[in-house]
């Protein structure tokens, strides 16, 4: 990993931990990281592995393109929740349907953080953001999109949920990444991650991310079983 000062993430951001883990794994396996636009857009400048930076929400088609040419290369697509569940939901649905041999890491911080904390498809009902000051309203804004749908669509899809709010969570993420990169199908690793800068209170942002993880349904089957 290059000098940590080069990171463009804010201090305490969950992205830093996740990027480090992904980079370490891919550098070791000589794989490729496919990033999209969001807080993770400058990834190519500070990771050691090969990277391809795609347009907003389009990490999955980029990774699919690489996969078509290199059937055995370890490939990880790296998205935020806005990336994967808002603008790029089409690609998530089709990749799940195709059971494409890819790993998709969704860094879910419940908001569009790079643009300054707006509501995304990962924002839970009641959470306040800059585009829903009174909190997300179920009637007005709809309910958040749960990645569980991908597994309902295709039972071969692995859906894993973890968090990076404590050491145990980080260790689990590391193990899941190692395991899923071997799987010859589509794996979604949804990581609940804090946004300490924009959440208002750094400590609370960690508590909130953990709470989201605890609330989320962790699928019993096909979860890669740790």
């Amino acid at each position: 990993m290059t000098d940590e000062k080069n990171y463009s993430y804010c201090p305490g951001c969950g992205h830093t931990i996740i990027t480090k883990e992904v980079d370490k794994l891919l550098t070791e396996l000589n794989g490729t990281l496919v990033a999209a636009v969001g807080c993770s857009a400058p990834i190519p400048n500070f990771v050691d592995c090969s990277t391809l930076c795609m347009p907003h929400g389009r990490a999955l088609p980029g990774a699919t393109g690489l996969r078509l040419m290199y059937p055995d290369m370890p490939i990880i697509a790296y998205c935020g929740d806005g990336d994967a569940l808002n603008i790029g939901i089409e690609h998530l649905v089709h990749s799940a349907a195709r059971n494409m041999n890819l790993v998709l890491v969704i860094v879910n911080n419940s908001s569009f953080a790079m643009t300054g904390f707006q509501m995304s498809a990962g924002t839970p009902v009641g959470m306040k953001t800059n585009t829903c000051l009174k909190g997300r309203d179920e009637v007005k804004h709809g309910i958040p999109i749960d990645t569980l749908f991908a597994q309902k669509l295709n039972t071969k899809v692995h859906l894993i949920r973890c968090h990076v709010t404590n050491k145990q969570g980080i260790n689990q993420l590391r193990e899941h990444l190692r395991k899923e990169i071997e799987y010859k199908g589509f794996s979604i690793i949804e990581v609940f991650s804090p946004c300490p800068t924009l959440f208002g209170n750094a400590k609370k942002s960690y508590e909130f991310a953990k709470e989201q993880y605890d609330k989320a349904i962790v699928p019993k089957c096909n979860c890669g079983g740790l």
Partner: protein, 333 residues
């Protein structure tokens, strides 16, 4: 001696692409380009990927060409609009690919009748006015011949190349000679290959990087780069007849074939460009007035004006390619 082939325009492109050692064609069905999609899907299913939408097509092109593969897509009107974001990214990330655009009529859904209205996309695909190389063949022989050239230009300058022709040229059958050829591409040093560390991005994180990236993109259009390598191909040189003090007729695609005879009957000259960006024209043309014959819009006239040519007027036909008689009648009136 090579036997002549008798094929549809879109299929001739497919044949030529396979002979150019195409790695992948990814596309979403859209009339009137579907024959190319079907040709590759049926004859070479291992080289074909059907996408979920044109948005996916554009981004899949990016992923595929990042590996240094020869990739191509077939599209038309609305499909091209959906891909324009990716085209802009492809230009800034310096990735080569070939986009076959079988032009149809109109803004919006328009119609599936022929048109020549997409050509200005070569001068500003998507945001950031990203320029692309645009080839405009007029016969099926040229459709066949331009594919290897498109790949060579795309890889030499790391830029997407458009092959643009109207729906009729894509749908009609014509005889052509399927020459054998080789695509000369230098070894690539930028592609993701699973061995070396390669980084492909269109995002500039510092002022210096931004300066370097923008200068690289702009420098490609300097005389010694793209225009110079385009001039090296004889088949890309324009066909023209210059008569002093007489108007010059100009058109692209199938219409270009009717204006030659019409020009003879009216006693004027003609100019048929085979490359729309960079536009190649003889110096004499700078002093003459050009009459553009277009199907649907003023795009060709705009491009000529942008390149410093004088436009006398534009004859627009709205949904069909005019016959020689009709063209002469319109020009005389």
């Amino acid at each position: 001696m090579i036997e002549k082939e008798f094929m549809k325009g879109n299929e001739a492109i497919g044949l030529s692409a396979i002979k150019s050692k195409l790695d992948f064609l990814c596309s979403y069905p859209i009339t009137p380009s579907t024959e190319l999609t079907e040709y590759i899907a049926q004859k070479h299913p291992d080289k074909f990927f059907q996408t979920a939408s044109e948005v996916e097509t554009g981004n899949l092109l990016m992923g595929l060409s990042a590996t240094g593969a020869k990739v191509m897509t077939a599209t038309s009107g609305c499909g091209l609009s959906l891909m324009s974001e990716s085209l802009s990214y492809l230009v800034m990330s310096q990735l080569p690919c070939v986009v076959v655009d079988v032009m149809r009529m109109g803004p919006g859904l328009g119609n599936i009748t022929p048109g020549t209205q997409d050509i200005s996309i070569c001068y500003g695909a998507g945001h950031g006015m990203s320029q692309l190389i645009g080839l405009t063949p007029t016969t099926i022989q040229e459709l066949y011949d331009f594919v290897p050239i498109a790949f060579e230009l795309a890889f030499k300058h790391r830029i997407p190349v458009m092959i643009m022709y109207d729906a009729i040229l894509g749908q009609m059958w014509e005889q052509f000679i399927p020459h054998d050829f080789e695509v000369n591409i230098d070894e690539t040093s930028w592609n993701i290959n699973g061995k070396d560390i390669r980084k492909i991005t269109s995002f500039a994180t510092s002022d210096e990087k931004q300066k370097e990236m923008v200068e690289t993109i702009i420098n490609k259009w300097e005389w010694e780069n793209i225009p110079y390598s385009v001039l090296k191909y004889d088949s890309l040189l324009p066909e023209y007849l210059y008569i002093p003090n007489k108007p010059i007729l100009s058109a692209i695609g199938l219409t270009a074939r009717t204006i030659k005879k019409a020009a003879e009957l009216c006693g004027c000259g003609y100019y048929i460009p085979k490359v729309i960006n960079p536009l190649i024209y003889p110096n004499e043309l700078e002093s003459s007035e050009i009459v553009t014959i277009e199907i649907g819009g003023y795009q060709l006239a705009q491009i000529f004006q942008l390149n410093g040519l004088k436009i006398r007027n534009t004859e627009i036909f709205t949904h069909y390619i005019p016959s020689i008689e009709e063209l002469v009648e319109r020009l005389e009136s």
